[in-house]
Symmetry: none
Subunit: 186 residues, 4 copies
């Protein structure tokens, strides 16, 4: 890990800690200790802990979207892609012991003034939403309006499956959400 630059080491370490232990449970001291960086070096690259979280979320967004894209690209049809999203959830969340969604997790118990983080969550969810809309819009069977309405419903199933599987530490919510999406797609 020492091969990476300081900034990269901070982001990697913080990302790991923020996601798996939580934003409030992760202290600056722990980040710099595990990253092997001096405190002031860290503040050379990031103005505040919040800014590190923003970098974490930005990086996570790219990776997460990329993995989803790759995962569902095995399917040809729109409906197939949508349904495969839930297989992605099973795959991903199983690996992380159902730790849930990084954006959901960070915005639920946040200091009042941490708006930059909140904006990241809004943006991320909007991009996922648009991504799902786009998949369904390419299906000629649906009008644009139908595609958007259906897409919103799928998005909610995804969100619900993530949070409920996190609470229950079990994949059944994801399977139920998959079944629901199959029904909704007819």
């Amino acid at each position: 890990m020492k091969r990476l630059g300081v900034k990269e080491r901070i982001i990697e370490t913080a990302s790991d800690l923020f996601y798996h232990n939580g934003y409030n449970q992760t202290g600056i001291n722990q980040i710099i200790a595990e990253a092997g960086v001096a405190k002031a070096s860290m503040y050379q690259h990031f103005r505040s802990k919040e800014d590190i979280a923003v970098a974490y979320l930005v990086g996570r967004h790219t990776i997460w979207m990329g993995k989803l894209f790759d995962f569902i690209s095995t399917e040809r049809t729109s409906k197939g892609k949508i349904i495969r999203c839930f297989d992605y959830l099973i795959d991903w969340l199983g690996e992380v012991d159902f730790r849930g969604c990084g954006w959901q997790n960070i915005i639920t118990d946040l200091p009042i003034d941490h708006d930059k983080i909140r904006i990241q969550a809004i943006n991320h969810k909007n991009e996922v939403r648009n991504y799902i809309h786009d998949i369904l819009k390419s299906e000629t069977e649906y009008t644009i309006e139908q595609a958007e309405q259906l897409g919103d419903q799928i998005l909610i199933l995804i969100e619900g499956a993530i949070i409920l599987s996190q609470i229950q530490k079990n994949k059944w919510p994801i399977l139920a959400a998959k079944n629901a999406s199959i029904s909704l797609l007819k």
Copy 2:
């Protein structure tokens, strides 16, 4: 508020703060200050901050379930009751400025050893799940298995609607979830 006993004052104050500001954002000092209680008096009634949170969640569960029950009791049919659940979400979440679910919010960024709180979340969601299952089981149209599968899907829509409306600070996810549930109920 001075009419209430010490324990009740603590729970009321903490419940308000935990829900609206977050568990990590709420300090012991703030609770005792707003409750008008001495610190050691508080520790007489509660072994730890976590225990206060448990009392908060236990109380919230009773109130929340009661309100839901009252709200949907205007409907006669099972399907009507289920769909009216989403009207309840609109009503409730609109009032609290889309502050989300107390149990979702508290388990996402919690010290590793706070298992009593985690158990509360699991229990609450299980009771909501059973409640929905029971409503659908009373519908002769469905087999027990169908009722349970459908109920799980409804639960996930509820969870997804809550968390997404919290992120977006908007009721559209609840409306979308309502539409999805209408489709799923045929």
Copy 3:
């Protein structure tokens, strides 16, 4: 020193350090170390470092005014009392190695928002001013207006003598001020 209560120990220690080393040069850690107090104990009694400084200045005011009063009480006449003020300065400042005035010293290099401290300085100087005015007003030779004008001139000589003796680490400015006041009093 252990016989004193925590709050008194903090004030005593901080007063010594603030006066002799300066407000900015004195850290919270040094105060609690020398006072033998835990950091959080200190913050039980004082909301902030600034508040400790306020307590320091309030206490210092009482002591300083008292010493001045005692010192000049050997004189009967108004003029005698005024002139003896400068003997007080020589006595006091000689003892503290010409460390200057606690209020002058603290307001010259203060964080922008430390207004409580600034107010202490203003109040202290006003009380000294009124004290000198009162002494001269009891002199029948002067009208009230004359007493006030003359008092202001004396006050300025005091202030100038303090700061200049601090810079020069020498008592000559105090002696010069004393001579000036003799001339002004006719």
Copy 4:
């Protein structure tokens, strides 16, 4: 400002910040940021923050003395020049919102080992003292000794007027000092 050399830009920026915000309140980072200079470039020209302060004080001395000389040169007589010094104070201190004397301000709350700065203050005050002495010595009415004694008294009135007007944020101390000097000059 980009026309100036690096060293000049640093001194100009630091001078402004040191005087108006205070030495301790001004950080190295703020100086280089506002001067548009790299950190190590700054340390190329100045060994330490203290050295920058020395350069600031040296430059300020020349400017300050020059302005005073110009201001009082409208007067022909020694006494007239001395009294006009206080008009200078009113003019200057009114413009800087009664921010006081750069040398007084910097020596009151200084790290123990910052002797180079202390020496600057001593030197500056000595030069002002000599300047005033010289003005009064050119007055044939006084013996050399009288001129020096009177000059010291004037200097103290100046110092007291500066610091007291800084605390009170008002020009009345300067006016009182002017009146005192008029009396002392007979």
